[in-house]
Amino acid sequence: MIEFKEVSETNEMIEKENLDVRTITLGISLLDCIDSNLEVLKKNLYGKIVTTAKDLVKVGKDIEREYAIPIVNKRISLTPIALIGASACKTPEDFVSIAEVLDKAAGKVGVNFIGGFTALPAKGMTKSEELLIRAIPQAMARTEHLCASVNVGSTKTGINMDAVKLMGSIIRETAEATKEHDSIGCSKLVVLCNAPDDNPFMAGAFHGVTETDSVINVGVSGPGVVNQAIKAVRGADFTTLCETIKKTAFKVTRLGELVGREASKRLGIPFGILDLSLAPTPAIGDSIAEILEGMGLEQVGCPGTTAALALLNDQVKKGGIMASSSVGGLSGAFIPVSEDHGMIDAAQSGNLRIEKLEAMTSVCSVGLDMIAIPGDTSASTISGIIADEAAIGMVNQKTTAVRVIPVIGKKVGEMAEFGGLLGYAPIMPVNNGSCEEFIARGGRIPAPIHSFKN
């Protein structure tokens, strides 16, 4: 029989420590919507999305009430649109019109983000992928819920430097196209290396072609819970610290597993994966930086930060793996700067710089995330940042990503406001030494030697 203190512990996590299910993401395969006529394709897409996802928001709300656990976001991920639109789209404008249809469908079913405006030119770029990428700036400017992602490399294929070069200019154009709102378009655009097929977290979520027709993926979060647990073992050795994080991760993951299975049962859609990623929100107490500081760092960014983050990421994975056989996605710790008040403080005080964040991305779950940079940063410098990050991912066989926002019209020290979960961020300085000649070479960086494992 469940005991009083167990009930209190769970409810305290929810009420006081911001434990929540961050997202239920419904993955929908759009392969059966393909048509060479653009208008027919758009009709098929809209129809399939609103039919498959019609109960998603309601089921999410029901579960929320029955277990008294907040489910913050209900989202949809789609088959990469570069594949779906390949035979119908002849111009970037055609892809923009698809983007508008997807956005409308998202609004209709009541989800806050729809991901999958995606191209996967990890090795070579098809004509359709190039058209989709060129459509991104206008697509981001004209939609509200749509998220775009581009996978520019992998451990197996190397890095497509032509795609990296193109993405530098596309990020700048997207920033220009949405400059009235602090270049917010870039906050929904992510450039990945080793993108997973089953990631429920935006902006990098898409429904991989390796997946079944539709699938429910769940993302749980709970930095506040881990933070509280760490506070209780202040001064204890690393073994104790690790055990504490693992136990907490275990409990949080079990909660996600329950919600995922329940949602899957009620929607009649198979359960895919559970992603336990400690993802911060701008709320006090819901911060990754605070966890690292709780381990004994004065402020995130100081020496010791990378080690602390490596430890955290690994223990979260270990606790999660034990709790569910369906752990997947990225599972670890996210370090988006604008969404974490501890990171924002450290960036403002100058303790946290992009170079340190880059080191941190080699041991955490994703990459340079939600970082505002000066609006006059050149396209080649942005490409250079992407190339560095992709190289870390490629060599270390992990997912890395870049979501930087060159805030048009703003300089170092000023603030960019994105609102809601996306938060706010101080503009961080970028090393402006030129890498133009390097980026201009074009071609591909070959896969590393350890990728030849057959």
Partner: protein, 90 residues
């Protein structure tokens, strides 16, 4: 059996348990176990109940209990038991 956990937290007063129990009885909810303490004048209670027989939808029960809690000046929360079972037991 569909077990649910009801928790009540708030300032102690006469009749909290009585009112909750009669509401549950009216709705065919059977009480399996009650644990209750008072710390510094604060009333803390957990009930394990069987919600199999009730004809009311779960969220309706939960809303009505919430309203009853407001009337009594306490917080009442009804949750399905699996959430605790899953999180706290291997």
């Amino acid at each position: 059996m569909q077990k649910s956990i009801l928790t009540v937290v708030g300032k102690d007063r006469v009749g909290i348990i009585a009112r909750i129990c009669s509401y549950l009885a009216d709705n065919d909810v059977n009480i399996l176990d009650i644990t209750q303490t008072i710390v510094d004048g604060f009333f803390n209670m957990m009930m394990i109940c069987d919600t199999t027989k009730t004809t009311k939808e779960f969220h309706l029960l939960s809303d009505e209990l919430d309203a009853l809690g407001k009337e009594l000046g306490v917080m009442i929360k009804l949750q399905r038991e699996d959430i605790f079972e899953k999180m706290q037991r291997i």
